[in-house]
């Protein structure tokens, strides 16, 4: 078995970090940061996702192929979001002749 076994301490630290970030994001939501509240909330969510994926889901110790497949999946999600939003957000940008 080539599996790398992390210590309970590592997992406990990651868990503590996740709880801290949850408290932080809940608190920050009550503060008016204007348009940055979205950025902060999603930034914290991405940090939490990375902690869970890298440590709890063992991506740190995964094979290169698995890492590549995961990145590929996120890339496709990025394509879905970026291309759709680039359409939605720019529909009014150019006038339509004859309208």
């Amino acid at each position: 078995m080539s599996a790398h076994i992390d210590s309970v301490k590592t997992y406990a630290l990651v868990f503590a970090g996740l709880i801290f970030l949850t408290v932080a994001t809940t608190y920050v939501a009550t503060v008016d940061l204007g348009p940055f509240s979205v950025v902060v909330a999603l930034g914290i969510a991405v940090c939490k996702m990375l902690l869970v994926a890298l440590f709890f889901m063992h991506i740190r110790h995964s094979t290169k192929l698995t890492k590549l497949v995961v990145l590929g999946g996120l890339l496709w999600l990025g394509i879905l979001l970026t291309l759709t939003m680039s359409d939605i957000l720019t529909r009014g940008a150019l006038g339509v002749p004859g309208r």
Partner: protein, 223 residues
């Protein structure tokens, strides 16, 4: 190793050369399934983003009507369950059968608490007439914009409902694993089902990590 015919075991099926190869194949297969799930949920996140961009003020009012404390508590409960799940996987890697069962049961209980709180929240929504339909009414939103508020709650129920469905399936998987572990099926050499079930459980956790800020938090200060 590969040259001689080997006795087939759970940890080394005939079609694989080494145990490590079989393990990597299982992990990769699970991740490919999870990526299809990412795209599945991704469509809903996209729909949410589009409509939130279209009706930001109504979405802010609707989002603020959700119970912040319950959402935050549920996030903590789910993170705890991920922690106990990863400890179950660790116990499986070490072949500690009793510890696997203990941590799987803890995970199962925490999953149950999450679903219970979720059900309580939904019950509140019923009583407040926040279920999209003929009797829908959201306070603080003009009459001609009630439809936009219904959009928010349609997305809310679709996304949390789909997430809860995944939790229910996860609970079923955990129950299966507990019984299999009791039979002594998983050892330090072969614990792939526990491992991939862990990946599934953490994935469902990650979905909630994004649902919580998007549905409950982002527009709270705009109220």
């Amino acid at each position: 190793m590969a040259s001689q015919a080997h006795v087939e075991t759970l940890a080394l099926r005939e079609q694989f050369d080494t145990e490590a190869q079989q393990k990597d194949a299982s992990t990769l297969g699970m991740w490919i399934f999870l990526i299809t799930e990412i795209m599945f949920f991704g469509g809903m996140f996209l729909a949410y983003t589009v409509y939130r961009g279209a009706f930001p003020m109504v979405f802010a009012v609707a989002s603020s009507s959700l119970a912040l404390i319950l959402g935050a508590v549920n996030t903590v409960v789910l993170l705890c369950s991920s922690f106990t799940m990863v400890l179950a996987v660790r116990a499986a890697q070490l072949g500690q059968q009793r510890a696997i069962i203990l941590f799987l049961i803890l995970t199962l209980l925490l999953g149950g608490v999450f679903l219970g709180v979720k059900a309580y929240e939904w019950k509140d929504k019923f009583e407040e007439h926040h279920i999209p339909g003929p009797t829908f009414h959201l306070e603080g939103v003009a009459t001609d914009q009630q439809g936009h508020a219904q959009l928010f709650f349609s997305l809310y129920f679709a996304m949390t409902g789909l997430h809860a469905l995944h939790m229910v399936i996860g609970v079923g998987i955990l129950t299966f694993l507990i019984f299999q572990t009791r039979k002594g099926r998983y050892t330090a050499d072969y614990m792939t089902p526990v491992d991939v079930a862990g990946l599934y459980w953490h994935f469902v956790d990650i979905i909630w990590i994004f649902l919580f800020p998007l549905l409950y938090l982002i527009d709270r200060h705009m109220k």
